[in-house]
Amino acid sequence: MRATTPSQDFIRGIWKENPVLIQMLGLCPALAVTNTVKNALAMSAATFFVLTCSSVLISSVKNFIPKEVRISSYILVIATFVTLADMMLQAYAPVQHKELGAFIALIVVNCMILGRQEAFSSRNTVYRSLLDAVGTGIGFTIALIMMGGFREILGIGTFFDISLFGPNFEPWVVMVLPAGGFLMLGFIILGMGVYEQRKQAREAHGEAA
């Protein structure tokens, strides 16, 4: 049995087990649609919606689903919510929908979502699955906003379309290109590595002292 408390379920996904930055899940949206913060936010919102709804639904009906058709049912549930998200975005945020394009549909195959269902919702209560989904969703959002933020600031010189450096800023076009996605995620992960290394060194130093 899991020895976690509900608050741990919630906190875990935000940073310690951040789906993108630590577990390397859902990389496709994290790289493909994060050239601006707006796109990143729209993608996070859609993913958040799908993740939370499927978690709640699956954890509430988990006992009626036979083991053999478990995965198929999860996929069905996820696909349904993705379709809903797709249609609603198209209706209420058409500009964003056009920017994200096919990547909305691709939420279906985001390993992070299916992973949470398989690993958590299928064996926990609705309440805790909700907490877990919200935590993971927030973690995903944080990662995407980080990516989108850095890429937009460097690549366009704006943040949320607000110009930061004035008109003379020379944008680093590469950052909004695919290569920039890989590089930026690489930079962030390297940065986290350096941070971890320093922290460990500090802790080791502290223990020694």
């Binding site: 450096f165 003379n168 800023f169 020379e170 680093w172 076009v173 590469v174 950052m175 290109l177 290569a179 920039g180 590089l183 690489g186 390297l190």
Partner: protein, 347 residues
């Protein structure tokens, strides 16, 4: 009685062989730097103080990054960072903002080399990776070729643009490179061959004078400091492929124009021959060279960019580990023509 007592000195115990060839990595690297000096001097002759500034900035970026993150070993003295800096500087336009050149050096060394473990372990040529990064990041600045200046000491373009700010080169006089002119120009005329050879054309700092690059390269080849198979295979394949396409009427570039224009000479003699990022066997080198030649011709004729040498070399750099695997030397005593492929590893 031991040797040490007898000699009152330090006894050396080393493994065989006890003699070594006079060749050394450091010496190879510095002679590459030496052979690049004429080209550098020519770029200063053609482009004035701007050339000094741009090359200086990229060298500074490379050396500083190497010094700060290059690890314990005295990584500057081996000369490899110097080569990267020089080569990167030589493939930038004269009016390039210094801060961008510096960043190119930092990226090339930092993410092209140090992250792979430093000297000898990189996959991509650091200078070219820096150049590719700059091309992707600042596409306008890097394709702004300054035209002739009224006087030698006049800066070409906006070298002193503030960091992170655009160069104000929008209304500067720009010239087209021979390749760009023939490809996208409104009045496509092939630049005379003599101009290409001497370097009295517009283009990147170091890629203008084919003759001097050729001289430097041949000097290195004679000293055994570069693998002549690579430049020869590249040049032969560019000549052959472009000849075929020219003859079929598919391309506006004559084979000789192809050979002496753009960055081909610099790329073939200095970038592709980077020992670290080229194959280790002769067969591999030929595969590598011929593929680069083919890619150069394809990108130049049909691609969206006037020049394709950089991308051709980078793409083939990525393939080098694969080529190395596929062209292992034949096992001694096994029949000829039957290389010992890595396939045997399977079992």
């Amino acid at each position: 009685m031991s040797f040490k007592e007898e000699k009152h000195g330090v006894v050396k115990i080393t493994a065989a062989p006890h003699v070594r060839s006079a060749e050394s990595t450091t010496r190879i690297m510095w002679s590459v730097v030496l052979s690049l000096l004429p080209v550098t001097a020519a770029s200063i002759w053609f482009f004035g103080p701007s050339a000094v500034l741009v090359i200086g900035a990229s060298v500074a970026g490379c050396l500083l990054t190497e010094r700060l993150f290059g690890g314990q070993r005295n990584s500057i003295s081996d000369g490899s960072a110097m080569i990267t800096g020089l080569l990167l500087g030589l493939c930038l336009p004269a009016g390039f903002p210094l801060w961008m050149a510096f960043i190119g050096g930092v990226f090339g060394i930092g993410f092209g080399k140090i992250i792979f473990g430093g000297l000898g372990q990189n996959i991509f040529n650091p200078a070219l990776l820096g150049r590719a990064f700059l091309q992707a990041a600042f596409p306008v600045a890097i394709t702004t070729w300054p035209g002739p200046a009224p006087d030698w000491w006049v800066l070409r373009g906006d070298n002193f643009a503030l960091p992170f700010m655009s160069p104000g080169a929008a209304d500067a006089v720009t010239g087209a490179t021979p390749l760009g002119n023939l490809k996208f120009g409104d009045d496509p005329v092939a630049t005379p061959l003599l101009d290409l050879l001497l370097g009295t054309t517009s283009g990147s700092l170091g890629e203008t004078s084919a003759l001097l690059i050729l001289l430097g390269g041949i000097y290195l080849a004679i000293r055994g400091h570069l693998n002549w198979h690579i430049p020869v295979s590249i040049l032969v394949s560019v000549f052959a492929f472009s000849g075929v396409f020219y003859w079929l009427g598919l391309s506006p570039f004559s084979p000789l124009f192809m050979l002496f224009s753009g960055g081909l000479m610099l790329g073939a003699w200095y970038m592709a021959t980077d020992m670290v990022t080229s194959p280790v066997t002769h067969t591999g080198c030929w595969v590598f060279g011929v593929s680069i030649g083919l890619l150069v011709v394809i990108i130049r004729i049909w691609g969206g960019l006037p020049e394709g040498v950089m991308y051709a070399i980078l793409l083939m750099n990525a393939l080098v580990p694969f080529i190395n695997r596929a062209t292992q030397p034949r096992k001694f005593g096994s029949p000829r023509g039957k290389p010992e492929p890595a396939a045997e590893k399977e079992s």
